[in-house]
């Protein structure tokens, strides 16, 4: 009997899940992947575009070419999912019946939800580097920016890659120093969090680096509105800017909101944090930015989830219990400027700690090094050639390694 898996989204999660499942399952299981376009963006590269360190066109490849033979790709928008009918309705009027649905449609930028943000100032004095067009526009603006107030603002959590706006500050400091105009620019980091990052040890380390680089930090600021050259907080505080680089509000894909019972208030899919089975239906799974599991929305998270999700989908189809368990493993290179980067590695229970990765002789954790910068640059190759095809990166598995990490001397708050 032929059965069908429908994967919604051909980004990082959808692509690697479909490729893994294709290898694991017999031909009697059809796999169909749906996406609204054929443009796969290497999102970690967007950070480098505004500084001329990467070109937007080099970050893009066709989605369908990342999918293995034996996977059907449909380039069409999704209208809605009918959970009771196990059917996906497409925007061309067609529909797809599924035995298992994998939701991997990521997070959507919602700049229009902040009043004033997408007005005349958008891409004139207010930019985001979280999209290809935004990153390109910002590159042009930054090239001629030689004095004034540069404000980097995360509007509200959750956002993709919570370290990216910090990396932007570090790179902006480097970029402006290289240009010889750093002393004529004030850089301010404005965050809704109570520190540079949410996890205490990393927050102290990253906060210390902002201070050392002369970046002012405004905390617990919830942007309610963008006025004429100023961010206006809900609590009445204002931050003036000449150039604002914002990480806009995020939500799940719009069709999730049109699919009764699938998503939460923000259109993310409530999902079991260990099995990655959705809470909507047993035959619906979710991974990556689309899922509301309590860990950063990041490519590494999606990669580690993919291994667990594909095994659990196989088990579900075979009628076996879902015992593959994701531990919340996340792993991020944090670019710090001057050809250096630091590496953080954490999961649901262990915050990012100093030490080495993956073991005592590995890359330095929570500490700047040139080696980590090279690791970050090299990762783009691994992304297209190892991660998307659904292969394992040698020595880096789904479960977080404990060896090599140094526990803090003083007790700190648990991570959640």
């Amino acid at each position: 009997m032929t059965r069908r898996i429908v994967v919604l989204g051909a980004g990082t999660g959808g692509t690697l899940a479909a490729n893994r499942l294709r290898r694991m399952l017999p031909d009697s299981v059809d796999i169909t992947v749906v996406d609204q376009d054929d443009v796969h963006v290497y999102q970690p590269g967007l950070l480098f575009v505004p500084f001329g360190l990467a070109h937007a066109e080099d970050l893009v490849r066709p989605r369908r070419r990342q999918l293995h033979d034996g996977i059907d790709f449909r380039e069409v928008g999704i209208d809605r999912v009918d959970l009771d009918g196990d059917t996906v309705h497409l925007q061309d009027g067609d529909s797809l019946h599924y035995d298992v649905l994998v939701v991997a449609t990521g997070a959507t930028l919602l700049p229009e939800e902040t009043p004033g943000m997408t007005g005349p100032a958008w891409n004139e004095s207010v930019f985001t580097f979280y999209s290809l067009d935004g990153a390109r526009a910002l590159q042009k603006r930054l090239a001629g920016f030689e004095s004034g107030r540069l404000v980097v603002n995360v509007v509200d959590m959750p956002v993709k890659c919570p370290v990216a706006p910090l990396e932007f500050c570090f790179l902006a400091d480097w970029f402006l120093r290289e240009k010889g105009v750093r002393e004529r620019v004030d850089i301010t980091y404005v965050t809704p969090l109570d520190g540079a990052f949410t996890k205490p040890v990393a927050s102290r380390a990253l906060g210390g680096m902002l201070e050392q680089k002369g970046v002012e930090v405004v905390t617990e600021f919830n942007t309610g509105e963008v006025g004429d050259g100023r961010l206006i907080g809900y609590d009445g505080r204002e931050v003036p800017f000449d150039l604002a680089v914002v990480v806009p509000l995020h939500g799940g894909a719009a069709y999730v909101g049109r699919s009764p019972g699938l998503g939460d208030e923000l259109n993310f899919v409530p999902t079991d944090e260990h099995t990655l089975q959705s809470r909507a239906r047993p035959n619906v799974f979710a991974l990556g930015d689309a899922a509301n599991v309590p860990i950063s929305k990041a490519g590494s998270v999606t990669h580690f989830e993919g291994e667990v999700l594909s095994e659990n989908v196989r088990r579900f189809l075979a009628g076996e219990p879902l015992d593959a368990a994701y531990d919340g493993h996340a792993n991020c290179f944090v670019e710090t400027g001057f050809h250096k980067a630091l590496l953080i590695d954490f999961n649901y229970d262990t915050e990012p700690l100093p030490g080495h990765f993956p073991a005592r002789m590995g890359l330095p954790l929570l500490k700047e090094s040139h080696l980590n910068h090279l690791g970050k640059l090299m990762f783009q190759w691994f992304y297209w050639h190892t991660l998307l095809p659904g292969r394992d990166i040698p020595g880096i598995g789904s479960a977080m390694p404990h060896g090599g990490k140094t526990l803090p001397a003083e007790p700190t708050e648990a991570v959640r």
């Binding site: 959750p158 617990e220 809900y234 609590d235 509000l249 208030e265 950063s296 700190t412 708050e413 648990a414």
Partner: protein, 110 residues
């Protein structure tokens, strides 16, 4: 696993465990009788029906999801605009309402 700071605090005559930021470590130690005293400690002298609605909503969201909603989600579920939430719970509605509702810090911040 890293040890959590545990502080003890007496609310409405009952000893409860909170963390360094004042969030309940054991939500089951909370009762509605504690709300006026917890609210007063946050600078909210008069509790309106709106406050109660939002506190109960935080509590229900926690019982359903294992975490309180972030402010944007709280606004969407309650229908109360974010601006009004800031008037009801100055200094950050999601966190303040979570402390009064006796639930852990919302996990929206990750």
């Amino acid at each position: 696993m890293i040890a959590e700071t545990v502080l003890q605090r007496t609310v409405a005559g009952v000893t409860v465990d909170v963390n360094g930021e004042g969030f309940f470590l054991h939500p089951e130690q909370w009762s509605e009788a504690m709300v006026p005293e917890l609210a007063a400690a946050e600078g909210i002298a008069t509790l309106t029906e709106r406050h109660w609605q939002l506190i109960r909503l935080m509590r229900a969201a926690y019982e359903r999801d294992g975490t309180g909603p972030p402010v944007r989600a709280l606004s969407k579920t309650s229908g109360v605009p974010i601006k009004d939430l800031y008037e009801l719970f100055p200094k950050g509605p999601a966190k303040v309402a979570a402390r009064i509702a006796g639930i852990p810090k919302p996990r929206g911040c990750i």
